[in-house]
């Protein structure tokens, strides 16, 4: 007998999956807004330092970019985690991978937000 039938592995339940799908859809929405604003606020396309700094002076922009950062990073890491889960890793490998993904995601988000704060205050 295979024991994983009697004890389901709760390595990806419905909520994480649903989050991944919704985050993906939100990425598309925010990316769309990003492009529109990008062209409205900074017609030249944010291709020099001064434009970027001016862009971040609009209060809603750092908030939107921060939100975008969070959903993009989590969506992509959950996706890569899904690929790792497809390889049927052992419990040990899975925990290690989860730890790496969490640390990586947290670092990326913290770093991104720090960058946003720095830019918004210039």
């Amino acid at each position: 007998m295979i024991d994983h039938i009697s004890s389901p592995k709760h390595n990806e339940g419905i909520w994480l999956w649903l989050y991944k799908i919704l985050a993906g859809l939100l990425v598309i929405v925010v990316l769309g807004i990003h492009f529109v604003i990008n062209h409205a606020v900074a017609p030249s396309g944010l291709l020099n330092y001064e434009d970027v700094i001016r862009y971040y002076k609009v209060p809603v922009i750092p908030i939107m970019e921060g939100f975008f950062l969070v959903i993009v990073v989590t969506h992509s890491l959950l996706g890569v985690r899904g690929i790792v889960l497809d390889m049927n890793p052992s419990q040990k490998v899975r925990r290690a991978a989860d730890w790496i993904f969490t640390m990586f995601g947290a670092t990326a988000i913290a770093y991104g937000i720090w960058l946003l704060v720095v830019l918004a205050n210039r």
Binding site: I21, G24, N48, Y49, I83
Partner: protein
Amino acid sequence: MSNHPTPSNFWRWFDPRNRQIGYWAFILNRITALGLTLYLLLHLIALSQLSQGAAAFNSFIAMAKNPVFKVGELLVIAAGVIHGLNGIRIALTSFGIGTRYQKQSFLALMAVALLILFWFGQIMFFGE
């Protein structure tokens, strides 16, 4: 190559031989997912130039204007558009919407993706 399921078979995810449209969609989705994740990483690193002031960032942008970078950029846009449009399809079919028309919807969305890419290519290479 093993006949029974094993992680080392992963390369066969990307083997489209004898498979149909839905499988092509799966392969494209997985490749673009991995590509975009890699890009996200590079993008975050590149943006650190912003924190180092005007000179650093502007010189980086100048470098990014050479054609090699532009092609790379177009690839990223392609990956984003394909992954995004196909993502909409997967999200909808996952909730049972249009599941029976997954082939048609994939082909239609990829046609849209091509149009969008032409538009981007036009702007990026001939726009200015």
